[in-house]
C-alpha cells in the first residue's frame, strides 16, 4: 500500500470515527454515572433527523445542530425518567427508545417533506463545510508529516475537531473536577454520594443530559457533516458500535478515542476491499470487516484481553427504601 492510499484511508477513518467517538463519549458519561444506555443509536438517529429537518428549513446548520441536540435530549429525558425517576429497567428503556426513534424519525420526516422519510438534501450554509487547517497547502512540502497534516488532519468539518477536543475535555471533566469525582462515585456506589449530601438523582440526570448533547452532536454530524441530509436508518448501527467501543475502551476517554479510531479504520477498510486484496494477496470478505468491531468487543468482554469491568452500580436503579 502506498502512502497516498494510506493517507486516504486514514482520512476516511477520521471521518467515520467521529460519530462513533461522539456517541462513545456520550455513553461514557451516562454509564459512568451508573445508567446503562443502549439507546445511543436512537438518540443519534433522532438528532440526525432533527438536524436535517431544521437545517433545511432554516438554512443554517447551527440551527440544525441545536435542533438535533434538542431531539436527542428529549429521548435522553425519557430514558432518565424511566431509569432514574421510575427506577425502570435501563436496558429495556434503551431498547424501546431505539425502536421509537427508528420509527418516529421516518414518520416526522415523511410528514414534513413527503420524500419517503428523508429530509431534502442540504447545501451551502445548511451543512458543515470542510475547514482547511492553517498552512495545510504549504505543509505538503514537508515529507511524511506534511501530507499527513494536509490530507488526514486538515479538511474536516468543525464537528470532527470538536469530537477530538471532547476527548481531553471529557478526561479533564471526569478526573480533574468536582463534577467528575461525583459522577464516577455515583456510578460506583450511589449511597456514598447520597450520604455525602449530594443528590444522586440530579447527578444522574446531569450525566444523561450530557449524553443527550453528545449524541445530538453525533447525529448532527451524520446528517450535516458526513452526509447532506437525513435518511431512513442512516446511523446504521453506529450507536451499537459506539457502545462496543465504550466497552472496548473500558469506559475511559482516551481509550475511547483509540477504540473508535480502530473501529473507524475497520469501516474505512471495508470500503476498500481492493486495498486489502492488493496488500495481503487474499480477499477478506467485507462482512468480516463489518463484523470486526463486534467480534473484538466480544473477545474483550470474554476477558481474553484484560477485563472490562463496568461501573459497579451500572444498570441498577438507586433505591433507598424497598
Amino acid at each position: 500500500m502506498d502512502y497516498a492510499t494510506l493517507l486516504q484511508i486514514l482520512d476516511s477513518t477520521l471521518r467515520l470515527a467521529t460519530p462513533l467517538l461522539l456517541a462513545c463519549l456520550a455513553g461514557l458519561f451516562s454509564e459512568r454515572s451508573g445508567i446503562f444506555d443502549i439507546g445511543l443509536e436512537g438518540k443519534m438517529l433522532m438528532a440526525a433527523m432533527c438536524t436535517g429537518a431544521a437545517a433545511y428549513l432554516s438554512g443554517s446548520v447551527w440551527v440544525g445542530v441545536l435542533a438535533g441536540i434538542a431531539g436527542s435530549m428529549v429521548l435522553a429525558a425519557i430514558h432518565g425518567l424511566a431509569s432514574i425517576t421510575f427506577r425502570g429497567n435501563q436496558l429495556i428503556s434503551g431498547v424501546a427508545l431505539n425502536f421509537i426513534a427508528s420509527g418516529i424519525t421516518v414518520l416526522a420526516a415523511q410528514s414534513l417533506f413527503r420524500q419517503g422519510g428523508r429530509t431534502p438534501p442540504l447545501s451551502g450554509d445548511a451543512r458543515f463545510n470542510p475547514i482547511e487547517l492553517p498552512f495545510a497547502e504549504s505543509a505538503h512540502a514537508i515529507p511524511i508529516i506534511g501530507p499527513f497534516y494536509a490530507e488526514v488532519l486538515s479538511g474536516h468539518t468543525i464537528l470532527v475537531y470538536i469530537g477530538l477536543l471532547c476527548v481531553p475535555l471529557t478526561w479533564w471533566a471526569l478526573f480533574r473536577t468536582r463534577f467528575g469525582l461525583r459522577l464516577r462515585a455515583v456510578g460506583e456506589n450511589p449511597a456514598s454520594v447520597d450520604t455525602a449530601g449530594v443528590s444522586v438523582i440530579r447527578l444522574r440526570f446531569a450525566a444523561v443530559a450530557i449524553t443527550g448533547i453528545l449524541c445530538g452532536l453525533a447525529g448532527a454530524y451524520m446528517a450535516a457533516g458526513l452526509q447532506a441530509g437525513f435518511g431512513k436508518e442512516m446511523t446504521a448501527g453506529r450507536g451499537y458500535i459506539a457502545l462496543a467501543a465504550l466497552i472496548f475502551a473500558k469506559w475511559r476517554p482516551w481509550y475511547a478515542l483509540m477504540a473508535t479510531l480502530l473501529f473507524g479504520f475497520f469501516q474505512a477498510l471495508a470500503l476498500r476491499p481492493d486495498v486489502i486484496t492488493r496488500l495481503f494477496h487474499f480477499s477478506i470478505p467485507v462482512p468480516a470487516l463489518d463484523a470486526m468491531p463486534y467480534i473484538l468487543t466480544v473477545v474483550v468482554l470474554a476477558g481474553f484481553v484484560g477485563r472490562a469491568i463496568p461501573p459497579r452500580a451500572g444498570g441498577e436503579p438507586y433505591v433507598k427504601e424497598r
Binding site: 478526573f175 480533574r176 473536577t177 468536582r178 463534577f179 467528575g180 469525582l181 461525583r182 464516577r184 462515585a185 460506583e188 456506589n189 449511597a191 456514598s192 454520594v193 447520597d194 450520604t195 455525602a196 449530601g197 449530594v198 443528590s199 459497579r312 433507598k320 427504601e321 424497598r322
Partner: protein, 527 residues
C-alpha cells in the same frame, strides 16, 4: 406496651445542668410500606457524652439514626440540634448541622483513594486539585490528633475493614462533625481494632464531641457509654444512665422479658463420629482467607455449637459444609470424604450424602420469596424421586400434599401451602425451612442463626425440634451469635475467632464471660 412511666421519668433526669441537649428527637415515626420501623420515638443526647443505643435485630436502630442523618425522611416527628429545631431533609442538611455518621454498611467508593472518598461531597471548589491538597493536610492533622492513621493515597478496596472504618470516621471529622453516629462499628472489627476504636472515641469525647454508638454488645455499652437507650420493635423502651444499670436489666428491656433460655433437654448420648473436619481452609471470592485451618468432629446424638462474633468465618464454614463454597482440607462424613472443589461439591451432592442445611440468611439463601410455600418445601430437594411423576415431570400434587403435612407438623401459620413465601412472617418462614430440612431426617443438620428475628414461642418450638433430632441420634452443627442460645442448646461449644477455633468447651464447664473472652480472641488454645 413495655414503655413504662418510670422510663420516661428517667429520661428527664438526663439534663441536669440545664444545658441544651446536642440532639433531641421528638415523636419520630417511620414506616417502610407495611413495616413500622420507628414508632413515636423521643430521645435526648447531651453534648460531650457517649450515648449507646441497643436493641434486637430489626428493632429500628439504624432507621432512627438514618433519619437523624437525613438519609431517610421521617413520617412524623421533630429534630432539635443544640436546642434549635432543625429540618433535616437530606444528608447535606445533617452535615451542615454538624452530624456525621458511620453506617453499618460503609458508604465508600471502593475504587477511589482515601483522599477522594474523604472530599467527596465536601470539595472546596469546582476543581479537585486544591481540595485534594487541603484534605491531605487536614488528614495528617487528624491522624495526629486522634491516632487515625491511614494512607491517604491507598485505594479503599486494598484496605482492611478496620481501616475502611477509620476512613468513614475521617470523612465525618473532615466535615467538622460535632455529633458522630456509629452504627454497629465493632461488628466487623477484631478486638484490637475495637480497642483502638474505643480509644479514638474517648479522645473525641474529650474534644467535646457527642457520640451515638449503636451496638448489640452489652459489654461495650457498659464499657464506654455514659447513657444508653433501649429499642424494641420500633419503640424506645427506656433511656438510662449506664452507671445506674446493669447488663441483666438492659437485656430485659431489650427483649421485653426475663431472658432465661433454658431448653429442657436430657443429657447427650454421643455415638460414633459423623463429621470429621480437618485443617479446613476457605478463601472467598475476594481472595480473603476466611477460615484458616480448623478441625473438629461431631458425633451422632450431639449438638455442636459454634459461637463467635458475626464475620469470623462461621458463615463460610456453613457454606462449605452446605456445598455453597469450595474449600481445601478435608471433611469426612460417616467416614467418607466429601468433595470440596469438584463436581460433587454442590448442595445437591451434600443433601444426597445426608446433610441438611438451615442457612443463616433465610430470605436470600433459604427460600425463594416469590415461590409458594409448597414450592419452597421442595427447594433443594426438587430432584427427590418422591417428587417426580415420571422421568420428565415433577409431581406437584405430591409436593403439595407433603408440604401440607409438614406445615401442620411445624405449626406454620397460616398452614396454606399455596401462599407465597414472602407473605409469611419471618418466624413462619423459618419454620418452613426447618420443616423442610429436619423432616428429611438428615445425618447432619447444619443450622445457622435458627432463631434470628423469631418470637419466643417459635424459639422454643424450634429449639425443641433441634433437640429432638439430636435425641434421634443425629448430629447437629449449630452456629449462632446468641451466646444464650449456644449455651442452652449445645452439648459441646467451639468458639470461632478470625477464621480459627479458639477453643472447645463443655457448656457445664464454662460461662458467658469465658466464652465472650474467647470470642474476642483472648486466651484459648487455638490462637
Amino acid at each position: 406496651m413495655a414503655a413504662t412511666g418510670t422510663t420516661s421519668g428517667r429520661q428527664d433526669t438526663a439534663a441536669p445542668e440545664g444545658k441544651a441537649p446536642a440532639i433531641e428527637l421528638r415523636g419520630v415515626s417511620k414506616a417502610f410500606g407495611p413495616v413500622q420501623a420507628n414508632k413515636d420515638i423521643s430521645i435526648r443526647v447531651m453534648p460531650g457524652t457517649i450515648h449507646g443505643i441497643i436493641g434486637e435485630n430489626g428493632a429500628g436502630k439504624s432507621t432512627l439514626m438514618s433519619i437523624l442523618y437525613g438519609f431517610y425522611k421521617a413520617d412524623a416527628g421533630e429534630i432539635f440540634i443544640n436546642g434549635q429545631k432543625t429540618d433535616i431533609p437530606d444528608s447535606q442538611a445533617a452535615i451542615r448541622a454538624g452530624i456525621g455518621m458511620v453506617f453499618q454498611h460503609f458508604k465508600l467508593v471502593q475504587n477511589f483513594t482515601v483522599l477522594e472518598n474523604v472530599i467527596l461531597g465536601a470539595e472546596d471548589g469546582a476543581l479537585l486539585r486544591p481540595s485534594l491538597a487541603k484534605a491531605r493536610r487536614v488528614l495528617k492533622e487528624l491522624a495526629k490528633e486522634y491516632g487515625l492513621d491511614v494512607d491517604p493515597d491507598e485505594v479503599i478496596e486494598e484496605l482492611s475493614v478496620g481501616h475502611q472504618q477509620r476512613v468513614e470516621i475521617l470523612k465525618a471529622l473532615y466535615r467538622h462533625a460535632d455529633i458522630l453516629i456509629l452504627d454497629e462499628p465493632t461488628g466487623v472489627l477484631t478486638p484490637d481494632e475495637a480497642d483502638h476504636l474505643f480509644r479514638i472515641l474517648r479522645g473525641l469525647k474529650e474534644q467535646g464531641k457527642t457520640i451515638i454508638l449503636i451496638t448489640h454488645k452489652l459489654r461495650e455499652i457498659m464499657e464506654i457509654t455514659d447513657t444508653v437507650s433501649v429499642m424494641r420493635r420500633g419503640e424506645m423502651t427506656a433511656t438510662v444512665k449506664t452507671a445506674e444499670t446493669d447488663p441483666e436489666q438492659l437485656a430485659e428491656l431489650m427483649v421485653g422479658r426475663k431472658v432465661l433460655l433454658n431448653v429442657p433437654k436430657g443429657p447427650a448420648n454421643p455415638g460414633r463420629v459423623i463429621l470429621e473436619v480437618e485443617n479446613l481452609r476457605v478463601v472467598d471470592e475476594d481472595k480473603v482467607e476466611r477460615v484458616k485451618g480448623i478441625s473438629f468432629t461431631i458425633r451422632e446424638g450431639e449438638i455442636f455449637g459454634i459461637a463467635g462474633v458475626a464475620g469470623n468465618g462461621q458463615s463460610e464454614l456453613l457454606a462449605v459444609l452446605g456445598g455453597i463454597m469450595p474449600a481445601t482440607g478435608s471433611i469426612r462424613l460417616n467416614g467418607k470424604d466429601l468433595d470440596l472443589t469438584g463436581r460433587h461439591s454442590d448442595g445437591q451432592s451434600r443433601r444426597a450424602r445426608g446433610i441438611a442445611h438451615v442457612p443463616e440468611d433465610r430470605q436470600h439463601l433459604g427460600m425463594i420469596m416469590d415461590f409458594t410455600a409448597w414450592e419452597n418445601m421442595a427447594f433443594g430437594y426438587h430432584n427427590d424421586p418422591a417428587y417426580q411423576k415420571n422421568a420428565l415431570l415433577m409431581n406437584n400434587a405430591a409436593i403439595l400434599e407433603d408440604s401440607q403435612g409438614k406445615m401442620e407438623r411445624f405449626d406454620v401459620r397460616p398452614p396454606i401451602p399455596t401462599l407465597a413465601a414472602k407473605n409469611f412472617s419471618g418466624g413462619n418462614q423459618q419454620k418452613i425451612i426447618l420443616a423442610r430440612e429436619i423432616e428429611r431426617n438428615p445425618d447432619l443438620l447444619l443450622v445457622g442463626q435458627p432463631t434470628r428475628g423469631v418470637d419466643i414461642g417459635a424459639i422454643e418450638f424450634i429449639h425443641k425440634r433441634i433437640v429432638e433430632l439430636r435425641d434421634a441420634g443425629k448430629a447437629v452443627l449449630l452456629v449462632s451469635v446468641e451466646l444464650a442460645e449456644i449455651m442452652s442448646l449445645s452439648d459441646r461449644i467451639a468458639v470461632m475467632f478470625d477464621g480459627r477455633i479458639m477453643g472447645e468447651r463443655m457448656p457445664e464447664d464454662t460461662d458467658e464471660r469465658a466464652l465472650g473472652l474467647l470470642m474476642a480472641g483472648v486466651g484459648g488454645e487455638g490462637a
